[in-house]
Symmetry: C2
Subunit: 202 residues, 2 copies
Amino acid sequence: MKRGPRGKTRYEIFAYVKSRLKEGNPPTIREVQEAFHLKSVQTARVHLNTLVKENKLMKIPGIARGYRLTKDRHAAQATFIPVLGNVHAGDLNLACEEIECYIPVNQQHTNVELFALRIEGDSMIGQGILPGDTAIIRKQPSAAKGDIVVVLVEGEASIKTYDTDNGKIVLRPENPKYDPIYPDSDRYRILGKVIEIRRCLG
Amino acid sequence: MKRGPRGKTRYEIFAYVKSRLKEGNPPTIREVQEAFHLKSVQTARVHLNTLVKENKLMKIPGIARGYRLTKDRHAAQATFIPVLGNVHAGDLNLACEEIECYIPVNQQHTNVELFALRIEGDSMIGQGILPGDTAIIRKQPSAAKGDIVVVLVEGEASIKTYDTDNGKIVLRPENPKYDPIYPDSDRYRILGKVIEIRRCLG
DNA sequence: CTTTAATGAATACAAATGTATGCTAATATA
DNA sequence: TATATTAGCATACATTTGTATTCATTAAAG
């Protein structure tokens, strides 16, 4: 291969490896070699090892396809959670038909089950939650005073602020147009807590 | 290895491979073998190939570490974008020191540059944008009527609704407490457009 | 222009890894 | 209990892939 200015090929190789790693498909040295039409494996290998020295890549020696991004470039892992178009009353099992799409969340909460719902109506507008917003919900059967929760009352799922008034449960909409609900303790069920709101604009 | 009930080991192997693939680290057959204390490579290989037959995995034959998740399990790719704590006036170069953290976004917009800002103040409360929210911004030098934009006026970056009034630019806060700005055309610069708002609760 | 260090190549070898065949024994089912 | 199917093992071999050595050439720097 014709020789380019110093570092240029290596820079391009880095971009190539990075994209390969992002798609979960770590390349072999020879694949890098072929991708850049280098006539020798060693050329590719020297470039990759230089990238390791520059701390742009790291390497697990000996094993096949052992080049990785440096730890601090990883940032974090993302998980995809399903956005449910509508909540069927009763059970909240994530049947595939109800899944609108998937959105990425930061994977700190490893073992908790998350899902998302599309907000309908303006009942929470006082908390800046608008119709069309996406609410990310952590499944849990209980809540603390002040939490915004997804709650099932009379077979109907909705989003309310969970509050208590003299030991009695209050489910409070955040809109003066609507009245708070004082459900009997066996007439409601908390499905989860809203931990994040997302809104896409234009 | 002692034999378990049918399919159990395979189910566990699938989970193992899945997690390996998620972290971008595809396993070899022998690594699967060792992870499950199987005494023969072939045992692991048969399990993996069965998972392929069951359409839970796919395989690139011949190459090392060639097992992948089936396409439809991929869902989508996520990219991480930086959240900037504060915008330095003038240039919006993402110096590392200003980066608070990274958040995941759906990677549809491959070639556009995204970043995120923490919202300060209540000037956009009328649009349900509260202090502490995270705004995701697409870098762009212009905007359309009605877009919510990050704009630099007098060396100060802020978020406003972009509007026009008889051909003159209006930068409108969404809060009656604040007045709209009518900047001279050479006294402001659009840094980007807000394409998403996120708010973390509790 | 001269020197130096980086780039690229040719080749060989060793280790990692995928593949194949034949066998034993446990599980599930009738 | 008898039988078919599945799980697991042992071993051998082929291919892929990482590693090492040596040399030629050119871009960059003084």
